[in-house]
Amino acid sequence: MHVLIINGSPRVKQYSNTDKILEKFTAGLSETGCTFEQYEVSDRKQWDSIRAAFDRNENILIALPLYVECIPGLLMEFLETLTPKNDDSKMSFILQSGFAEGIQLRCGEEYLEMLAERLGCKYVGTLVKGDNFSIRMFEGKQQERLTLRYKEMGVEFGKEGNFLSEKCRAFTGPEVFSAPMRIFIGIMFKTVVKNGFKNTALKWGCTKPLDYRPY
């Protein structure tokens, strides 16, 4: 199977969490003998090539971050330029987000099913997973701890050609956190996580408190 992979993140490839996820995912995909070609929507110079690839490929996978409960505006701008296929092409998605619970991504997932249909393709599932915000904050083994889990999903997709299996559904993790877990994570938010964000801000040259009100 040959797969067209479109990274729908508006963030440049270098800093794209979705790209880091795809690095591992495609490593797993390649292990099954599948081949792929990958493009970045963030690079407008690639748009003509992506359109041509969309027209000639039958297995299309769009990977994207959740932006305000749906697809990012830039990805929508690109998709508006496509001509719907209306053939037997299959379309699947990798949907990732910062918020960790599965429930946070369901509204976006619902749209992706509709989107595949609108683009004249057969919808073959979405791999849904949150808790990915900090991928770009880390390097090396710390980053790999967050992304390596996608390699196994690449193998699964290579074997099945879709994200419809129970294994893919289970990959999402909890839909919501239990009350005790929310208390624990809430404490982490106010301590370790908050300090982590402050440290990142300092590294980025931020000179104001993160809750600063400029207007």
């Binding site: 993140s9 508006p10 963030r11 440049v12 800093y15 794209s16 963030s42 971050p65 932006y67 305000v68 409960e69 749906c70 697809i71 990012p72 505006g73 830039l74 929508m76 701008e77 998709l79 508006e80 918020f99 960790a100 619970e101 429930i103 946070q104 509204c107 619902e110 749209y111 509709m114 989107l115 609108r118 683009l119 919501v176 956190f177 929310r182 994570i185 809430g186 938010f189 996580v193 908050k194 964000f197 990142t200 801000a201 980025w204 040259g205 931020c206 104001k208 408190p209 993160l210 809750d211 600063y212 009100r213 400029p214 207007y215």
Partner: protein, 168 residues
Amino acid sequence: MILVLNTTTDREITEILRNDMNAKGITAEVVEAGELRMGNCIGCNHCWLKTPGECTVKDDFPEIFKKIVHADQLWVISDTALGFLDHKGKNIYDRLIPLATMYLCFKEGQMRHVMRYDRRTDIGIIYKGEADREYLKRWNERATLNFDCHSLGVFNTEELKEAVSCMY
């Protein structure tokens, strides 16, 4: 204050809307944004971690954002594409992110960002063209959860009077 942001280039919509608002004694600021330079959120996270509360994309949106911060209601008028808001309409929502801070909390059992300002801006949609209305309704309810505000509803351009009835 009510802010109406017309991301389409169709000024007839806002003309009719103005008449309907006048008839009800409602005042609003109407911004014709269809031909302004307003790009997409590029996901740089600077508005959270480098220049808190300020978008660093250099276009016409930051001036509109200042108005949104002080508005009680925001009405987004948008064309549609692929059953949803077109990219211009969606870009507005994506670029509301500086309303929230990087800090996190749980609200009604789900993770949320801590909001930056005390004021809340409720958001309604007026769409022109074909869209999945039921999905748009559900989506706007979810989207507004992210900004700790409420959905004012979703209306097509044939229902401007109904939209005005939700303005106060």
